[in-house]
Every structure is written in structure tokens, then in C-alpha cells.
């Protein structure tokens, strides 16, 4: 019987390889899809780790959409809120705290953004005591008609231009950076700030409860974390995971359908050949084991090839889109191998068994 198996395999090699190829492509799709969604998940987790421990504290009435558009309303909070945190019990969880006062002024028809923050200047920008420094974006410098080194005044405050800030993004273009005190004077808000950046929170609890703690400590503020933003991303990951499940199920159905279609397309010849072997008295045991081996070969080769192909594809896709090679999830190998072989067996042995129940003469009739 080994002879029969060997000959048949040789004869059917293209058919089996074709089946294996289709199975492998289907498996590749699943694996590639899984790999990509897993990477996306990892990326978000990393991002969460990186920015998740930052917090923005603003006065309660602040409209955040305006804030991000650099339009600032009258809402403020006391400047000493930073010290208040420093002296509270949550101080140990806080990294850097940066109090800032933002405001808008109009100069020659251009709306500009004042950003008052006490920054420790690098040595080459050091100014003499008593001189108030300012760094201007290009648009702001143009509005005031100043160059680096010039001195100019806003609302009675004299400022010395220590730098024209390169246009790194559209945002800095119309900004005027200056010490906090100067900004408070110009904007008429002494002792006030309207934003506080807290970075590098090493909270033992989660960031959300830390934010709540900040809001309790400082009356009239809102503490904004990136957790909300990340939450949205997590939702999309969940959607992707669901898709992944759907695709996996679809793939299994596809593998089953492939095997079935292949069998159906061959069924006439298959029945005749099987009927002939049965007619000649071949023991059913031998026939079934022959089909088992064939099914396992097809499923096995298919799964192996699938993993090989999907490794190639995920690598390329990863390099193309994420600048790093991706790997399929090798833990899926055994389940997929099992399912594929199982489906192949179902698709070959059951028809074989059904045919063997028929009278051989019925299968031998030729038209």
C-alpha cells in the first residue's frame, strides 16, 4: 500500500501543493493581521508609558479647545499653586512642575501669544540683572519690527530680544516667550497663572486617581491627563482585536472551504478511483490511513508554508510601515497546525468513508 501512496502523492503533488499554498496564504493573512494588531497594541502601551505620567492643570472654566488653539480667556489660578502641591502629601509623586501664564495681545492687527514662564536660560543667552529677556517667533518679531539684540516695550515693560525662535512649528511663530512676572504685568494678572505642566509623575497609584488628588488639593482647577486620549486608542485596539477574531474565524472557514472545494472539484475522479480500489478488495483500513496521511501532509505542509510565507510578509510589511521587522506570533503555530490538519482530515476521510459504504459498482460506472 505504501507503493500506492507514494505513486499517488507523486501524481497529485501539484494538487497537494496547490492546496497547501492556498492554506498557507490564508494562514499568512491571519498571522500578518495578528502581528500588526499586536504591534499596534504594543506601540500604544509604550506611548502610554511615555506620556501617561504627564498632567496639565488648568483653571476650571478653561475651554480646552480654545487653549489648544492658543486663545486664552480670563480664567486664572494663583501662582502659588505650584508651591501648594510641593508642600502637599502628593508632592512625592510629582516630577517637574512648570507654572505658565498665557495670554493674547494684538500688535499692528496681528494676534500674538504671550507665554510667561521662568526658564533657566542657557549661558549664551544670559542677560544682565535688571534686564527682562524675551524670545520671539518670526511673526511676532515682524509685528514689533525687532531683531535679535533689539530692545522694545509692551505696555510699559521693557524687553530685550535674546533670540528669534526658529519656526519649529506653526505654534511658536506668533509667540513671545518671557519671564512669568513680565507676562503677569503685561496681561494685568499679577500673581496669576493659567496653566501648570506636571511631568514625570511617579505615582504609585494610577494617573487618574492622582489627577483627582490634584483637583482636591487645588480648588478650582482641572487636571487633564492623557489617559482619556489613550482610552480612545484602546477602544480602537479592541475593535481591531474583534476584527482579528472575525478574520481568524473567516480564515478557518476559508481553509475548510478550500479543502472542500478541492475535493468537490475532484469528487468524480476521486469516487471512481476509490471505488476501483474497493472493488479490487482493498481493505478499508488501508484506504482510510492513506487518506489520513494525505490530509495530514496537505495540512502540515500548508501550515508550515503558511508560517514561512507569513514570516516573510510580516517582515516586509513591518519594515515598510513601522520601520522595523515584525514577526508572526509563533504561539499560534500549534493551534493552526491542529485546525488545518483537522479540517483536512474532515474534508478527505469523511467523503472516503461515505464512499466506502456504497456498492463499488455504483462508483465504477463511466459515462
Amino acid at each position: 500500500m505504501l507503493l500506492l501512496l507514494k505513486r499517488e502523492l507523486r501524481h497529485r503533488i501539484t494538487e497537494i501543493l496547490l492546496g497547501a499554498l492556498i492554506i498557507s496564504l490564508v494562514i499568512s493573512v491571519v498571522l500578518v493581521q495578528r502581528a500588526i494588531s499586536k504591534t499596534a497594541e504594543d506601540e500604544v502601551n509604550k506611548l502610554l508609558h511615555k506620556i501617561g505620567n504627564n498632567m496639565l492643570v488648568v483653571p476650571q472654566g478653561m475651554k480646552m479647545s480654545d487653549f489648544y488653539m492658543f486663545r486664552f480667556g480670563p480664567e486664572t489660578m494663583p501662582q502659588d499653586y505650584s508651591e501648594k502641591i510641593r508642600s502637599s502629601k502628593i508632592n512625592k509623586d510629582m516630577g517637574t512642575i512648570r507654572p505658565v501664564l498665557y495670554g493674547n495681545i494684538v500688535k499692528n492687527g496681528t494676534t500674538l501669544v504671550i507665554s510667561g514662564e521662568d526658564i533657566k536660560l542657557p549661558p549664551r543667552f544670559r542677560v544682565d540683572a535688571g534686564v527682562t529677556w524675551a524670545a520671539l517667533g518670526k511673526k511676532a518679531a515682524l509685528a514689533f519690527g525687532v531683531l535679535k539684540g533689539s530692545t522694545f516695550q509692551i505696555k510699559g515693560v521693557t524687553l530685550k530680544v535674546i533670540a528669534i525662535v526658529r519656526n519649529r512649528s506653526g505654534d511658536t511663530d506668533s509667540s513671545i516667550f518671557m519671564p512669568l512676572k513680565a507676562a503677569q504685568k503685561i496681561l494685568g494678572k499679577p500673581g496669576k497663572i493659567n496653566a501648570m505642566y506636571i511631568g514625570g509623575c511617579t505615582c504609585s497609584t494610577d494617573i487618574a486617581s492622582l489627577a483627582a488628588e490634584v483637583e482636591r488639593t487645588l480648588p478650582g482647577v482641572r487636571a487633564i491627563t492623557v489617559a482619556g486620549t489613550v482610552k480612545a486608542q484602546e477602544d480602537s485596539i479592541l475593535v481591531m482585536k474583534n476584527y482579528s477574531t472575525i478574520i481568524s474565524i473567516a480564515a478557518i472557514i476559508l481553509v475548510a472551504a478550500t479543502v472542500l472545494v478541492m475535493i468537490l472539484s475532484q469528487i468524480k475522479r476521486y469516487i471512481r478511483e476509490l471505488g476501483l480500489l474497493i472493488a479490487m478488495g482493498s481493505p478499508l483500513k488501508h484506504l482510510i490511513s492513506m487518506f489520513l496521511i494525505k490530509a495530514m501532509l496537505m495540512g502540515g505542509i500548508g501550515s508550515l508554508a503558511g508560517f514561512f510565507i507569513s514570516t516573510l510578509i510580516t517582515n516586509r510589511l513591518g519594515v515598510m510601515f513601522l520601520q522595523k521587522p515584525l514577526e508572526p506570533d509563533y504561539r499560534l503555530f500549534l493551534p493552526i497546525l491542529g485546525i488545518t490538519i483537522f479540517v483536512s482530515i474532515l474534508g478527505t476521510v469523511i467523503p472516503a468513508y461515505r464512499i466506502s459504504e456504497l456498492d463499488p459498482a455504483n462508483t465504477l460506472r463511466e459515462v
Binding site: L4, R7, E8, L276, M280, G281, D359, L364
Partner: protein, 230 residues
């Protein structure tokens, strides 16, 4: 000895009426007989051979081979019987397309558990006897129809069956080769093997020891032939 009792085979045709391919057929064949079955096309000759060979369950009646009703056996037991006791030559050859001539011929022997070496050397002997020594390693698709017929004959002989059931074994052969096949049949028959052969050729039919003529599923004539094979 083969005993056929009230053998009836009925096929359902499409328009709800039934076709009696065999209708209450009774006869028996002694060991070592050489029976020719003739009759017009559609008279039930192939159906008779299939039911005798354990390949088609009859609607009614029994086929008794050596005191055993073969349709009382399980499918596996019947398969074994076919493998070891019966050599069947199909009207349409039914060779395995991916095996060459010697492998096709040796297949029943290998299925019966003979070693591949023995089976092959035996197959080669039979094929050479049928003037196919030069076609041992050709696939069925690459040989002529008459050659295929001879491979089918060779395959039916390999296990030295008690009974040979041959459905038109000479249908595709020229008169000379057909005579050669008949001589072979007569020779193995003289060694004691029972042969039941379907043929359209009256001259060939007359060379057996007995001639049964079927007509619409019933036996019309059953003649012992004087001067047939001894």
C-alpha cells in the same frame, strides 16, 4: 460452486418507473466451468457479473459462493473475498491512472499482503505472456486501448482467483489478439479456474463449455456446448 437464486436487480429510473436489469435469474455454475454470457446491449449482462462479483447488492435473491451467501457478509469480508477469490475484468478496464502497467497488475497481490518483489516478478510473467513485456513501465494513458484491456486481464489473474468474471474482455481486441486471450482463458480454465465471460462475439462464446443468453434481464437460453473446452 456458484449458485444464483432468484436474483433480481431493479433500478429506479428518473420518471418513477423501475427498470428490472435482472428479473428472477436462477442458475448455478460448477467449479471449473467456462460460461459465456451473451445477449443484446442492455439485457443485464454487466449487472449479472457485478452482482456475482460482490460489487452490487441485488434487490432480491442470493449469490452463494462455496456455500456462503456473499451478501450476508460484511463489506470488509466481501472485500477480502473479492481480493482473494475473484478476478474481475471490467468492461471499462478501470486501471489506476498513476500506476504503470506492472504496478497496476501487481496491485491486488500487494493488497493481499504479498511482498512487492514477488508481486512484481509474478506480474511481469503474466504481462509478458500477454505480449506486454515491452510496456511494463508505461502508464495506462500512454498505451493503446487493446493493451489496456490486456493489463486489466493480467491484473485479474495475479492472485490466481477461483473465479474469473470477465466483462467483454476481448471487446477492443483484433481477432488475432482476441484468440490469444481466449487461448489464455482456456488454459487457465483447464487448470481448474471457473470463468464467466460476457461477450458479444458469437464465435468466441461458442468456445466455452456453456452459453447463457440473457434477454431483458431473464435467461432466454442456457446451453451446454458440445465440443467446447474439455
Amino acid at each position: 460452486m456458484i449458485q444464483i437464486n432468484s436474483l433480481t436487480k431493479c433500478f429506479e429510473s428518473t420518471d418513477d418507473d423501475e427498470i428490472y436489469a435482472l428479473d428472477d435469474v436462477n442458475f448455478s455454475v460448477d467449479d471449473g466451468e467456462f460460461v459465456s454470457v451473451t445477449g443484446p446491449s442492455g439485457s443485464g449482462k454487466s449487472t449479472l457479473l457485478f452482482t456475482i462479483g460482490g460489487l452490487m447488492t441485488p434487490t432480491e435473491g442470493e449469490v452463494i459462493l462455496n456455500d456462503i451467501d456473499i451478501y450476508e457478509l460484511t463489506a470488509a469480508e466481501r472485500a477480502r473475498l473479492r481480493r482473494e477469490k475473484i478476478g474481475f475484468i471490467f468492461q471499462t478496464f478501470n486501471l489506476v491512472p498513476y500506476l504503470d502497467c506492472i504496478e497496476n497488475t501487481a496491485l491486488p497481490a500487494i493488497m493481499s499482503g504479498h511482498s512487492q518483489k514477488d508481486a512484481f516478478s509474478n506480474a511481469e510473467k503474466i504481462l509478458t505472456g500477454l505480449a506486454l513485456g515491452h510496456r511494463l513501465h508505461h502508464r495506462p494513458m500512454t498505451i493503446s486501448v487493446g493493451e489496456r484491456q490486456r493489463v486489466a486481464i493480467a491484473r485479474s489473474l495475479i492472485n490466481g482467483p477461483e473465479v474469473i468474471l470477465a466483462d467483454e474482455p476481448t471487446g477492443n481486441l483484433d481477432p488475432e489478439t482476441a484468440m490469444g486471450v481466449m487461448d489464455l482463458f482456456k488454459e487457465i480454465n483447464s487448470e481448474g479456474q471457473t470463468i464467466i465471460m460476457v461477450t458479444h462475439d458469437h464465435n468466441l462464446a461458442k468456445q466455452g463449455k456453456r452459453m447463457i443468453r440473457l434477454q431483458e434481464g431473464e435467461i432466454a437460453v442456457d446451453n451446454k456446448i458440445a465440443g467446447g473446452v474439455q
